[in-house]
Symmetry: C2
C-alpha cells in the first residue's frame, strides 16, 4: 500500500497532494478547442496595434529606436508616439488607481476591512507585432520588455503610497488574458499582498534562525534533485518541491538579490534568454498552453528575501476542494515536469 | 476621483478589489461555447449510471427505497445493489487513501514538508438520473444527498487519522468536473486545511475577545445590508462582503452549529430546499454556469466555529495577479450579486 505524497511549500503554509493517478481519470465532457491565441486575430480594433495608439491613454513610457540606441520618452495628451518598440500605458479598466495631485485620500470610515484601491495598473505592450509572444520574440525585444518592467518598477516603487509592485503576464484566454496582443501587466498596491508577505516573513524568520537566505538554500539543495531543470551563469530554473500546477517552474537569480532592480545589464539579457528558452520548451511540450507568470520581489532592501519569477502553466482546474480548503491536488510530480522541460530545452 | 474598494474577508487575511469597470473590458478572443453539462451525454460508459454499478468499487453506502422508508446498506466485493437512490463509492482515482488494516503508517523521513496523504476520497452519486442536478432535483432526492454526505461525515470523522472532512461539488467542465452525472465528492484529510484552519483560529480569537460567535455576528449584521439574499426559519443566504467570485454566496444556519451533523431532520430538508432555490436562481440568471460549492465545518465541538456552505460560481478567471499575490479582483459587487439573486428567487 503506497500513499500519495502531501507536500508543503518551502515557505508558505500551503499543502499539495501529488496524485499522479488522477491524471488518468476519464471524462465524458466534449473536448474544448484550445484557445487560438497565436492565430491571426483581427488587429483593426486591437488597441495595442501600431496605428491604434489613440485607442489607449497616453503612454507613461515609450521606447523608440534611434539609430543603435533606445530613446525613452512618453506620450502627452495631444501626442502619441509612433514607430515604438515598447509602450507602457495605464490600463483603461484599472483595478488600482493613483491619487490625483492635490487631492486628499478619500475619507473612509475606520473600517479595518476596507481600504481605497490606491495604486497603479499598467499594461506593458511588449512588441508592435501582435503575436510576438516571449517564446518566439527576438532576445533583443524580450530584453526591452524586461527593461520596461524594471523602469516602471523603479519609478512606481518610489511613490509613497506604493508598497508593492506585481509584474505578471497572462497568456491565452483560459489564463485570463482578454486581449491576444503580446502584453504584460503591472499592478502597484498600497500594501504587500498576502502570498508575498507570507514568503517574506518566513524568509526573514529562516534568516534569523540559520543566518542565510532561504532561497539561496533552496537553490543549493534543489540543484542536486530531479527538480533541477536548467541553469546558466546567472539563473537557475527548477520545478518547485510542492508545485500546485502541472509543469510549474520558477526562475531564480543565483546571486542573492532582493529585487530585479539589482540585475546588471548582462543579467537582464540572460533573464530574457532564460524566459524565452523555458517558455519555448513549455510551448513545444504542451502545444502552446495558457499560462501565467509573476515576479515575486520586495521593495524593502533590508528584507532577507530573494526575488524570483514563478511560471504557472494552466493545465488543470482548481475545483471545489482547492477553493474551499486552500489545499491543492496536482496530478503531475514536479520531478516529471522538470525532466520533461529539461529534455525539451536540450533538444 | 473615486477609488475602487479593497475589501478584506470577515476572518481570513484575504483582500479583494471590487472593480466593476473591469467587467466592461473588451476581448478579441473567440467566445467559447458554454459547456454542455445538461445536454444528454452518452450514458453507456458512465460509471454512475444504474446498470453500471460494476464499473465502480463496491459502494460504502447505498440508499435503497423500501416501501415508504429508506434502507441504508452497502455493496460487497461480489454484490452491487441495484435500484438504488443514492450510492457513495470510493473514488477510483483517489487523492487521499485510507491506511490498510494492520498496516503501519509508512515510515517517512522526518521531513516537516512531507506527509502521507492518508484519508478518504469518495464520490456521492446523487441520483440514478444522469442530469438531475440540485437546481432541478426533487427536494426528497436532494435531501437524501445531504443525508448521505452527513452519514459519511459522521462515519469518517470518527476515524483516528481523520482531522477534517471536505464535502464539495464541482458542476461543469470549467469548474473541474470530469464526469457530468450529478455527483458530489468528499475528501477526508489528516489535518485541518489552511483556509478552514485560518477561519477557525480567527473565529476562536473573535470569541475570546467578544464572547460571541463571529459568524452569529456576521449573520446579525449582514441581514441589514444589501448583501442579504434570502432567509427561511433555519438558514440565511448572503453575498459575502469580500466576495472573490462574481455571484458568490454563502448559506449559513441561523442557529449556532459547529457542524452540519447538528442539523435536525427538518433543518436538513430546509438546507436542501435552500440549496435548490438558490442554485436554481443562479442557473436562471447566468444560463447554468459552472460552479463549485464546499461545506466549511469543524470536527472539534469545542471550537467557536459556525459551519456554512460557500457557493463559488465560475464566472471569471483568476490570473497572474491573483495566483502570484493571493490578492483578488472581482468585477461584480456582492451587493449587485445579492440583488440579482434575490430578485431571481422572488420571481
Amino acid at each position: 500500500m503506497s500513499f500519495n505524497e502531501l507536500r508543503k511549500d518551502y515557505l508558505l503554509n500551503r499543502w499539495v497532494v501529488i496524485a499522479t493517478s488522477r491524471s488518468r481519470r476519464p471524462t465524458d465532457f466534449t473536448k474544448k478547442q484550445p484557445s487560438q491565441t497565436t492565430t491571426a486575430a483581427s488587429t483593426a480594433n486591437c488597441p495595442m496595434e501600431p496605428g491604434n495608439e489613440h485607442m489607449t491613454p497616453p503612454a507613461v513610457l515609450v521606447y523608440l529606436k534611434k539609430g543603435n540606441t533606445i530613446q525613452k520618452t512618453k506620450d502627452t495628451n495631444n501626442h502619441r508616439h509612433k514607430n515604438w518598440l515598447i509602450r507602457v500605458v495605464p490600463n483603461l479598466f484599472p483595478a488600482f488607481t493613483p491619487p490625483q495631485q492635490n487631492t486628499a485620500f478619500p475619507k473612509t470610515p475606520r473600517n479595518p476591512n476596507l481600504a481605497p484601491a490606491i495604486g497603479h495598473h499598467e499594461v506593458i505592450i511588449e512588441t508592435p507585432h501582435h503575436n510576438q509572444h516571449p517564446s518566439d520574440a527576438p532576445i533583443t525585444q524580450l530584453t526591452l520588455t524586461v527593461n520596461a518592467c524594471l523602469d516602471r518598477l523603479r519609478t512606481l516603487s518610489k511613490k509613497p503610497y506604493v508598497k508593492y509592485v506585481s509584474i505578471f503576464r497572462n497568456h491565452g484566454l483560459e489564463a485570463g488574458a482578454s486581449l491576444s496582443h503580446a502584453h504584460s501587466q503591472l499592478i502597484a498596491t498600497p500594501f504587500i499582498p498576502t502570498i508575498v508577505k507570507e514568503e517574506i516573513d518566513a524568509s526573514n524568520a529562516y534568516h534569523k534562525k540559520h543566518n542565510r537566505c532561504a532561497y539561496c538554500a533552496i537553490i543549493q539543495d534543489e540543484r542536486k534533485t530531479p527538480r533541477f531543470i536548467t541553469e546558466n551563469p546567472h539563473f537557475i530554473t527548477i520545478a518547485p518541491y510542492a508545485s500546485i500546477n502541472p509543469m510549474e517552474y520558477w526562475i531564480l537569480p543565483k546571486k542573492h538579490q532582493t529585487t530585479p532592480l539589482q540585475m546588471t545589464k548582462n543579467e537582464t539579457e540572460t533573464l530574457a534568454k532564460t524566459l524565452k528558452q523555458t517558455l519555448n520548451a513549455l510551448k513545444e511540450l504542451v502545444n502552446d498552453p495558457p499560462y501565467n507568470y509573476g515576479f515575486h520581489l520586495t521593495l524593502d532592501k533590508h528584507a532577507h528575501y530573494h526575488w524570483h519569477l514563478e511560471v504557472y502553466p494552466h493545465l488543470a482546474i482548481w475545483a471545489g476542494f482547492e477553493k474551499s480548503t486552500g489545499m491543492y491536488i496536482n496530478t503531475m510530480t514536479p520531478e516529471t515536469a522538470a525532466e520533461s522541460l529539461s529534455n525539451a530545452i536540450s533538444t
